[in-house]
């Protein structure tokens, strides 16, 4: 069998996660940050799946489903918040959403 080694999956997963982190850190637009988070989550999902397939267990799959459900819920709530923020402050720049700052 000429399988693809797990390390490749993991490298891809790490790459995706690093992309997410980088995007999260350098972007100011809330939507982009949000997408970065999704990227990080899916990077992690890839690691779960890779290990689950390799070990032949279902645990990783279940985790992935959980993460997807949470991500979906988060997307619904997060987008609602983003729309609400945009309506009141007319901006999507996170640095200007600082009403609670001293």
């Amino acid at each position: 069998m000429n399988e693809i080694p797990v390390s490749w999956y993991l490298l891809l997963s790490a790459f995706l996660f690093a992309c997410g982190v980088t995007g999260f850190l350098i972007k100011r637009n809330v939507i982009t940050i949000f997408m970065s988070i999704e990227l990080m989550l899916n990077g992690v999902n890839l690691s779960f799946i890779a290990f689950a397939t390799r070990l032949g267990t279902l645990d990783g799959h279940i985790f992935v489903f959980f993460v997807m459900v949470v991500a979906a819920a988060e997307a619904a709530v997060g987008l609602a918040i983003i729309i609400s923020v945009y309506r009141t402050r007319e901006t999507l720049n996170v640095d200007r959403v600082n009403l609670l700052k001293l």
Partner: protein, 663 residues
């Protein structure tokens, strides 16, 4: 035959009930109801006291002790509620309730026009309760409760006219000065607990009786000296006498009851009660005698120059208390108590008479504005005359017997000395002089007060014209007058001494310090013809000085009234010194009160309170703020910086794990 009203606890509790009734509900009662409650409670207390006095005397027992249960129990130590009735507390109890009742009667009329009628009687009954607790207690701790209670009552009554600044301050002065004395008393009690394990009289005296007479300074001397400090505070002796003259700010019946007849004698009572301790501590005894002698002389000199009628009497009280201390100090305890009793009669009478005068001329207390009052208030004059004769020691009035007894004991007692006697005689001369000066200035000559006619225009019935007081005030005067005459007769033939003999513990003569005077002077006085002759001679001397004091006063204030002013100018500085009471108040305020206030202000308030305590609290807050100011920077509000920290943290964790894995 144990009927309810026979219970001895009724004696102190009745006045307490009266005090509570008047104190809690008196505002709604009319004046007659208030007066009736106060009079009933004290009168009934007096009757119960009489019943018990009769029972005790006829039972022939030395003492009747009635315990009512344990009050405090702490380890091996315990203190009871209990009543201890022996011949000493019997005399005190009868004086307190009897004179107290008469003064209550007097107050009913005297306080008629003053505000706070119910408050006054509530306090007065309150005082009676604590005074009787003090006298009847069966242990020192309960006595201390009464001791503090009468101090409180005294404070309340001195400051009765509390809107007047001087009265409020006098109250505080009395209270604070007494604290100094109480401190000594309390330490004496601690020493008793430590060395005797109990405060119950009977046990303490029993244990003390096994002690030898101390030749040096031992534990009994320490206890005695500390008790003397306490007695000095309560009984206004040097150096703590300063509060008593100021206490005259209180209403006159209060001065008569608390600051002449009863409370101020508590110190004398305490010393006499503790005679088993004092008799075995010659140094403490000597200290008592010296303090008493000095005080009696010192206060008498001040009394000569005062012009406020009540202040003359106040200094006279201090002086007479000094006599009692002198007697106690030469171990003549029964002479001391004898003088305490007669003094209660005639000094209460003098104060009440002074109150009657003040009442009669509309509140004036300056003797220079009195004079010629004999015509307008004859009853007051005659009773005051009796009291003056009594205090001056002119036979056959009460003061003669007690004072003569004290002087004789001072001379002849083994603890006595001729110096005590000589100072006592000089003091007796001065006493006679200033008392007749008071009498002459007040009652003879011309009226020097404000013209009654001028005031009659303003007051429809001419209230300021000197007038005699109502019969309700005169009746106690007359009764006390009778007592001032006959009160001393109980001392004839050593009868009073023999009566008190069971109370005075005999000290064994095996020690080199000789026997207690009660035993040793009886043979000396009665037995040998020489002793008898000497006693008669000394009696003659004291009567002579009494008459010469009267003569001098008559010469200066009746015959040639212009002389006193001339003498005053001639003696210049000395007169000024005495007139200003030796500047003792000023001295105390400069030496003690001033530094104390300054220390409190600069050290305690400005340094300790403001700088140390406030400073610590403020610095803590400032430090917290400053640290927060630095840490606050982390919470920038920038989401990306938080994310950066999270990423950095995660990276650090991963790096750590990798590093750990490769090791």
């Amino acid at each position: 035959m144990k009927l309810f009203f026979w219970q001895p606890w009724l004696i102190p509790i009745l006045p307490l009930a009266g005090a509570l009734m008047n104190g809690l509900f008196g505002k709604r009662f009319t004046k007659p109801v208030v007066a009736a409650i106060a009079l009933f409670s004290t009168g009934a207390s007096f009757l119960v006291a009489c019943v018990h006095a009769y029972t005790l005397v006829h039972s022939g027992a030395a003492a009747l002790e009635t315990p009512y249960g344990t009050w405090i129990r702490a380890g091996a130590f315990s203190a009871d509620y209990g009543i201890y009735l022996d011949h000493l507390s019997l005399v005190m109890m009868l004086v307190v309730t009897g004179v107290g009742f008469l003064i209550h009667v007097y107050s009913v009329a005297y306080m008629e026009h003053e505000g706070g009628y119910y408050r006054f009687f509530s306090y007065l009954n309150f005082f009676m309760f604590f005074m009787l607790t003090l006298v009847l207690a069966n242990n020192y701790l309960l006595m201390f409760v009464g001791w503090e209670g009468v101090g409180l009552a005294s404070y309340l009554l001195i400051g009765f006219f509390f809107l007047k600044d001087s009265a409020a301050n006098a109250g505080k002065k009395a209270f604070i000065t007494n604290r100094v004395g109480d401190f000594g008393f309390l330490i004496a009690l601690f020493l008793l607990i430590q060395h005797f394990g109990t405060l119950r009289y009977a046990t303490v005296f029993d244990i003390a009786s096994h002690f030898p007479v101390e030749s040096g300074a031992g534990i009994l001397t320490a206890i005695g000296l500390l008790m003397l400090v306490g007695a000095c505070g309560k009984s206004a002796q040097i150096p703590l006498y300063v509060w008593l003259p100021d206490a005259m700010e209180g209403p006159t019946p209060v001065s008569a009851l608390i600051h002449a007849a009863t409370m101020v004698t508590a110190g004398v009572y305490m010393v006499c009660r503790s005679n088993p301790i004092f008799s075995r501590a010659p140094i403490a005894l000597l200290a008592v005698a010296i303090v008493g002698t000095l005080t009696s002389f010192f206060a008498a000199t001040i009394g000569i120059t005062q012009t406020d009628i009540k202040r003359v009497l106040a200094y006279s009280t201090v002086s007479q208390l000094g006599y009692m201390f002198m007697a106690a100090g030469v171990a003549a305890y029964s002479a001391s108590i004898f003088h305490l009793m007669t003094h209660a009669f005639f000094k209460a009478l003098l104060f009440l008479g002074a109150g009657s005068v003040i009442h009669g001329i509309g509140g004036e207390q300056d003797m220079r504005k009195m004079g010629g009052l004999r015509k307008s208030m004859p009853w007051t004059f005659w009773t005051m005359l009796i009291a003056t004769l009594a205090i001056s020691g002119i036979p056959p009035f009460a003061g003669f017997f007690s004072k003569d007894e004290i002087l004789w004991q001072a001379f002849s007692s083994p603890h006595g000395s001729k110096i005590f006697w000589a100072v006592g005689v000089i003091t007796a001369f001065m006493t006679s002089f200033y008392m007749f000066r008071l009498l002459f200035l007040t009652f003879t000559g011309e009226y020097r007060g404000a013209e009654p006619a001028a005031h009659a225009a303003h007051h429809d019935h001419g209230h300021h014209a000197p007038h005699e007081s109502p019969w309700l005030m005169l009746a106690p005067l007359v009764l006390l007058g009778v007592l001032s005459v006959i009160g001393g007769w109980v001392g004839i033939g050593n009868r009073f001494q023999n009566f008190l003999a069971p109370v005075i513990q005999q000290v064994s003569t095996e020690q080199n310090v000789v026997n207690n005077s009660e035993a040793s002077t009886l043979p000396a006085g009665e037995g040998t013809g020489e002793g008898k002759g000497l006693e008669t001679l000394l009696t003659g001397v004291s009567v002579l000085v009494a008459f010469s004091g009267f003569g001098l006063a008559w010469l200066l204030y009746v015959k040639r009234p212009e002389l006193p002013a001339k003498i005053a100018t001639a003696s210049g500085g000395l007169y000024k010194l005495v007139l200003n009471k030796y500047w003792i108040d000023e001295l105390y305020s400069a030496a003690i009160i001033g530094p104390l206030v300054a220390c409190s202000r600069v050290v305690l308030w400005q340094s300790v309170d403001q700088k140390l305590i406030d400073g610590t609290v403020n610095e803590c807050a400032v430090a917290a703020r400053d640290v927060s100011q630095i840490i606050r920077q982390q919470q920038s509000g920038l989401v990306r910086s938080y994310a950066g920290w999270i990423a950095a943290g995660a990276a650090a964790v991963v790096a750590y794990m990798v590093w750990m894995g490769t090791r």
